[in-house]
Symmetry: C2
Subunit: 217 residues, 2 copies
DNA sequence: ACACAAGCGGATCGATCTCCTCCACTTATC
DNA sequence: GATAAGTGGAGGAGATCGATCCGCTTGTGT
């Protein structure tokens, strides 16, 4: 990234840049965002020096990588919005976005924490939330989604299932679907008890994410 | 703890031992198990040396503190088992044991991870699980709890709500009840869809807890 | 009141980690 | 083949954490 409009990189340097990005993608996905530059460099088979010459910081790599993921997620939401069955649209989006989080632990951490630059992540979350908002609204209007939940609830529930993934993926990688199903049963309209209290305001949700940091080791 | 049957500690030493335990209780509850001996000593207002003289390791302090918590939890379960309404018994136990986890982060981490000695924790978990087993069985028999869930599910669900606490407690300390209610609605018999797959075997549950480590910072 | 064992504090050492720089060496390019 | 661009990775700086050690203080029994 750094400065554009410079002369292009030498061929081998460009090759190393790609190798670094590819290695970072892999390492972020399996071990999360809290890996050192040394880890990334080692995975790419280049020296640390090269890593730092190409990217000023880990944040810069993250930025270069995760725009793509956000677009993917927006596309999922867009497709879900076209499902004639509002409930099925919402739940399938729920499931597929969770699948993304399962496959990419770094992305999950990026969604729910602020280990990297506040501002760009806030913007990207806002984009996603508005798309989901529509999904939720539609499912509620159709009468399938209980009326006392909102988008913030969906976000928190998504976090919950993500936590289950952390907890059980070593033992049974697909188990999270079981608990997702349970949650969805609870989300259906006509469920037993009205929910106590209210969901979070957008600002609160943002602050929750700022306070939370992904697990260690 | 160390060796018993020694001559009793000098009065000031005993006083410091208590101060250390008290401080450790506090620090574990608010910041989790991953605090250093220095942290505990500082909170107790004694030198690190004193801390190490009284307790060989942090694990020893943990052991000294958390037996009590386990008993509390067993007592909760016992009381719940006497509720004439099986469903209400189970849910109230669920809620009050979660309340314990909210109030003591160290205890929560101890329940779901293996940051400290495997063996004693395994034993203590076994004790609790058998008590809960009975609660679940009874609620299922009464027809209130859906028949496709088991104790391992309750454990995982408990973990999920605990994760929500981590995520939202700074912003709205009671919010977890909202999601607990949602889960309970999903747990009621007669819910929409049968659950996919099966719950975890006891050994798998144990391994999940071994793999998982509580969050950093 | 006094001697001395018991206890105390916290400076300090060693072991890890991570970030990041620097420079002697290699290599692509013109 | 000259030279600018790029490379690797040793190593310094700075944090943390566990654990120890020793000069000083204090409780205790007589």
């Amino acid at each position: 990234m750094a400065v554009e409009s410079e002369r292009p990189l030498r061929a081998d340097a460009e090759r190393n840049r790609c190798r670094l990005l590819e290695a970072a993608r892999e390492v972020f996905a399996t071990r999360g965002l809290e890996v050192s530059m040394d880890d990334i460099a080692r995975a790419a088979g280049v020296g640390v020096g090269t890593a730092y010459r190409r990217f000023r910081s880990r944040e810069e790599i993250v930025a270069a990588l995760f725009d793509e993921r956000i677009s993917q997620m927006e596309e999922l939401a867009a497709r879900a919005a076209q499902d004639p069955d509002a409930w099925r649209g919402m739940t399938s989006f729920f499931e597929s976005s969770l699948q993304m989080q399962v496959e990419d632990r770094g992305f999950k951490e990026l969604l729910f924490s602020s280990v990297d630059g506040r501002e760009r992540i806030t913007r990207m979350r806002a984009r996603i939330i508005t798309v989901i908002e529509a999904l939720v609204q539609r499912a509620r209007d159709s009468g399938d989604l209980r009326s006392d939940v909102d988008v913030s609830d969906l976000t928190v529930l998504s976090f919950m299932v993500g936590a289950v993934v952390d907890f059980t993926s070593e033992v049974d990688p697909g188990l999270w679907r079981r608990y997702l199903a349970l949650l969805l049963d609870g989300l259906r309209a006509g469920s037993a008890s009205p929910l106590p209290g209210a969901g979070l305001e957008p600002a609160q949700l943002e602050r929750a994410m700022e306070c939370w940091h992904p697990r260690h080791h």
